[in-house]
């Protein structure tokens, strides 16, 4: 197990996240703009957070978004579309007459924390209030906010602060993480853990798909009686009318394969049934992949000719499910009986 992987899955990990763009929507039209830009229900009270998307006009997800409700304003933490491209998308997408105050928050930056003991890390650095922060909510701190969300299946926090204040915090984070057996990790390590959990990654979206194929229907507002339009809605309605024929699935594979060997077209009984989106060699699982499969065979346990089998994500049993901030401490972590990281394997 590499040090980065071990930190994320068993201890704590942190990294600056420059790939995340911060966009604020303020003013009387902020909510109308949000509901036009993002397709989710977005029934948010102050300090609540919701996962959403940005879609293009074809309904293709182009960004992963955390929508943070800050009183009557919104802060969008956006991955997949940054800087000027994000601003251009927003400005081109807003309907006539909808004129919120839109700003890229370039003066702020994000530091993310992950791991089964990340709640302990964030509490040591930002105070005990963080320990009880509910999932998908935010807490206001000096110079910014702390958002509990996560992209690895472990406890996860995004600290959004003014850049100088955030850099001043880094030595504390580094020292506290080291005390918890953790370290600064790479974006690639976080990305691989995210992939093991089967989470959406805007860097791996095939052409021609919508949230329907990606199994992200839960990020869409299905209350069709509402007279609500959002970017990409017409394309999604058209896809529904035509029928959704493919579904994104996760695959595990025989150990003798490598992730790189799982590429291209997938077959069942010699017939073409899908294509690989992404393949990786997981440290815990060996070769894994995501694929678009014909919906008629996109079910768990279906074994493809390539030696890969459809599996239910998450592919790992995240340690964070077994760590309870109310009962456990890092110092007494050896008292916790964890199941194997991978189902069916020995610990």
């Amino acid at each position: 197990m590499s040090p980065d992987y071990q930190a994320i899955r068993e201890a704590v990990a942190w990294r600056r996240a420059p790939e995340l763009a911060l966009l604020s929507l303020r003013g009387d039209d902020a909510r109308d703009a949000l509901l036009h830009l993002c397709p989710s229900r977005l029934l948010l009270r102050d300090a609540q957070v919701e996962e959403s998307l940005l879609l293009d006009a074809d309904g293709r997800p182009i960004a992963d978004v955390l929508v943070c409700a800050d009183d009557e304003d919104y802060l969008l933490i956006v991955e997949g579309l940054g800087g000027d491209a994000l601003l251009a998308h927003v400005e081109a997408s807003l309907p006539a007459g909808c004129a919120p105050e839109v700003a890229l928050e370039g003066g702020r930056a994000v530091l993310s924390m992950h791991g089964p003991w990340a709640w302990d890390l964030v509490s040591r650095v930002l105070g005990d209030d963080m320990m009880a922060l509910p999932y998908l909510s935010l807490f206001r701190i000096d110079h910014g906010i702390c958002v509990r969300a996560g992209k690895t299946g472990e406890f996860g926090y995004d600290v959004v602060m003014e850049r100088e204040a955030l850099e001043a915090l880094v030595p504390q984070v580094e020292a506290a993480a080291a005390a918890l057996g953790g370290r600064e990790v790479s974006a690639e390590a976080v990305g691989r853990c995210r992939f093991e959990n089967g989470f959406f990654d805007p860097a791996h979206v095939p052409a021609g798909v919508t949230p329907l194929e990606l199994q992200l229907g839960w990020r869409l507002d299905w209350r069709r009686d509402l007279e609500r339009d959002f970017v990409g809605r017409a394309a999604i309605d058209a896809r529904l009318a035509a029928g959704v024929t493919r579904r994104r699935v996760m695959l595990t594979a025989d150990a003798m394969l490598s992730g790189a060997m799982l590429s291209g077209v997938l077959h069942l009984g010699g017939q073409v049934v899908g294509e690989v989106i992404r393949a990786e060699d997981s440290e815990a699982l060996g070769p894994i992949a995501s694929a678009l499969l014909d919906v008629r065979v996109a079910h768990g346990g279906v074994r493809l000719d390539e030696g890969a089998t459809v599996a239910a994500p998450p592919l790992v049993d995240n340690r964070s499910l077994h760590v309870d901030p109310r009962r456990h401490t890092f110092e007494a972590r050896d008292e916790i009986v964890f199941p194997p990281l991978v189902r069916g394997s020995e610990a």
């Binding site: 998908l136 199994q215 839960w218 699935v249 189902r343």
Partner: protein, 111 residues
Amino acid sequence: MSEIEMDDALRAHLAAREEALGRVRRMLVERLHVPLPPERIDLDAPLFGTGLGLDSVDAVELVVAIEAEFALQFSEGAVGPTAFRTVHSVVELVLDPPEGVSRVEPEGVEA
């Protein structure tokens, strides 16, 4: 779409999966009040927190609903939280229950 040729074992496997998925979806809408049309509940949708938005109170109801819908009985500690992560993992649970989960004979049926 052209037909996919498959053997009887695979056909039966897929039919069992579709049937279980349909029942889990209906259960989530009718008993857990998930605010989505059943057919729009994705196989890999997360159940708790994000995704379908169930909470800790719903967790108890989910277990009760699964036991009732699929005539299963969970002994304490038999099933870890991973089994309830997604719709898909619940489908796997009801089709292939782990040790500690027993099938319950419907009332009125002699063993």
